[in-house]
């Protein structure tokens, strides 16, 4: 008898699972839940940096490079020193730099959407690195459009709903 119970139990379980809450989220249309201490983009606090260069030497993928910072770049109150510049095309998000930083000038944030169209944009200068990441705006749901070809502008699109309303 126990054999029958053991055989039928997974089937009943699978059936009850059908009516449970869905675990996955519709990602581009729905915000993913990312914790604040996630190993995402690294934020740089220039006023805390002592320019020791430990982050550069500890970086396993050589993504961090210390560069000279000009005063005009937004660090007028900070003295002229070399500050870290991070190439996210090379970064492996190991957080060694965050762990080794003696003055806690580097911190990881939750931002994971770092895709760019150009590789050069992945290199974050100290000024860009020090910006607080903003919560991304969610993509709106795609609207249905229809193809519209005009002689002046070439191929374009027009909303489909208005057409429906006219009919």
């Amino acid at each position: 008898m126990s054999v029958v119970v053991r055989t039928l139990k997974p089937l009943c379980l699978a059936f009850t699972h059908m009516f449970r809450r869905v675990f996955t989220i519709k990602y581009p249309f729905q915000a993913p839940v990312i914790e604040d201490d996630y190993r995402g983009r690294i934020q740089f606090f220039p006023e805390r940096c002592i320019s020791c260069g430990i982050c550069e030497s500890v970086c396993p993928t050589a993504a961090i490079k210390l560069v000279e910072v000009k005063e005009l770049e937004g660090f007028s109150e900070v003295k002229k020193f070399k500050k870290p510049q991070l190439d996210f095309g090379r970064c492996c998000f190991c957080n060694f730099c965050v762990d080794y930083c003696p003055s806690e000038a580097l911190k990881s944030t939750w931002l994971v959407e770092l895709a760019e169209y150009e590789k050069s944009k992945l290199t974050y200068t100290p000024y860009k690195l020090s910006k607080q990441p903003e919560r991304p705006k969610l993509l709106p749901k795609p609207k249905l459009v229809k193809l519209e070809i005009s002689k002046v502008r070439g191929a374009g699109h027009a909303p489909l709903k208005k057409e429906r309303g006219k009919k």
């Binding site: 089937l11 699978a14 699972h17 059908m18 449970r20 869905v22 675990f23 996955t24």
Partner: protein, 336 residues
């Protein structure tokens, strides 16, 4: 065109054979079944795993996802392996997709709605089922790849272990109804379905059927995690689509055969036509098989063989003996 030709075309269009071949159980039924069942399988499996499943193609719940996938397969390039047997490589998908449809010709959808009415309908269905491992073997050998060869060898092992209990358990039904004619078999279930008269036979037939149509937990020949895709590894594009199409036609034929043999076929209360009843029963069975796919892990080939040879075949023989005794000692169960 002359009026004679028009009237001839009109006669053909009106003839029953045309309706049967085109609508049910013909091309339209098979295509619609494949489209809906592939979608339903993905959706139900996703729900079992607490996912969404197909969502965007088509307005409601990704219902057009299968059609989109088919279109994608149509436009894909297929690359034959260099050392493949080209003729067999290109021809077998066509046969894999077309041969199982012959099994549908024997299934009665109502008392007079059979494409090929025959006194040996059950044997025709089983003969068509017996052809599928041969095609799989030719496919696996023609591709000249180690995965396809292992997959086709597994098909042969599995089908021997599954087909003997399948035939033996169907023997009980034949003994009770006294006929190989599927219409007679359905008609003799008017008082009681054979699933209740032969619970053991129905169980053995069901398990052997899952092995025969190569579905989880017996999808050992196409085990994605060990063999890349079993005997279908080397195919791409619409040839792969044809192989999957054949698989789902076999699925349809198997479920319809189970419904016909054990669940009273087209019989049911008269407020729905008989064709609706057989399709409803088939739908429930398809849902159960999809749920089984979501619930159970795949067996190993030796486990399947031990189940087939040590359990299913003895149980099927036991079922035949019990049925013989029943008919001898209680002849009233035959309805006489």
């Amino acid at each position: 065109m002359s009026p004679d030709l028009w009237s001839l075309i009109w006669d053909i269009l009106q003839s029953k054979l045309f309706l049967e071949l085109v609508f049910i159980p013909g091309i339209a039924f098979i295509a619609l079944f494949t489209v809906i069942v592939v979608w339903a399988e993905r959706k139900i499996l996703a729900r079992v795993m607490m996912r969404y499943g197909p969502l965007h193609v088509g307005k409601v719940a990704g219902i057009l996802q299968t059609i989109a996938d088919t279109l994608k397969l149509l436009f894909k390039e297929f690359i034959p392996p260099r050392r493949a047997h080209k003729a067999a490589y290109y021809l077998t998908p066509v046969f894999v997709a077309s041969v199982p449809t012959l099994a549908l010709t024997a299934i009665p959808f109502s008392k007079d709605w059979v494409v090929f009415p025959s006194d040996l309908g059950l044997l025709i269905a089983f003969a068509v089922f017996a052809l599928s491992p041969l095609l799989a073997m030719i496919t696996g050998w023609a591709c000249n790849n180690r995965y396809t060869v292992i997959g086709s060898l597994r098909v042969i092992f599995q089908d021997v272990a599954a087909e003997i209990p399948l035939l033996l358990s169907a023997l009980g039904v034949v003994m009770l109804s006294g006929s190989f004619n599927l219409v007679n078999i359905v008609e003799s279930q008017r008082r009681l379905w054979f699933a209740f008269l032969q619970p053991l036979g129905a169980l053995v037939f069901f398990i052997a059927l899952i092995g025969e149509i190569e579905r989880v937990p017996f999808d050992i020949p196409t085990a994605e995690q060990e063999l890349v895709f079993g005997w279908k590894t080397e195919y791409g594009g619409i040839l792969f689509g044809l192989l999957m199409f054949g698989e789902y036609i076999t699925f349809a034929a198997g479920t319809l055969l189970f419904v016909t043999l054990y669940l009273g076929g087209y019989l049911g209360p008269s407020f729905l036509p008989p064709m609706a009843w057989i399709l409803i029963k088939m739908g429930i069975l398809v849902f159960l098989l999809i749920l089984i796919r979501g619930a159970y892990p795949r067996l190993r080939i030796d486990q399947l063989l031990s189940i087939g040879w040590k359990w299913l075949i003895p149980l099927a023989i036991l079922n035949v003996l019990v049925t013989m005794d029943l008919i001898y000692f209680y002849p009233w169960i035959l309805g006489g």
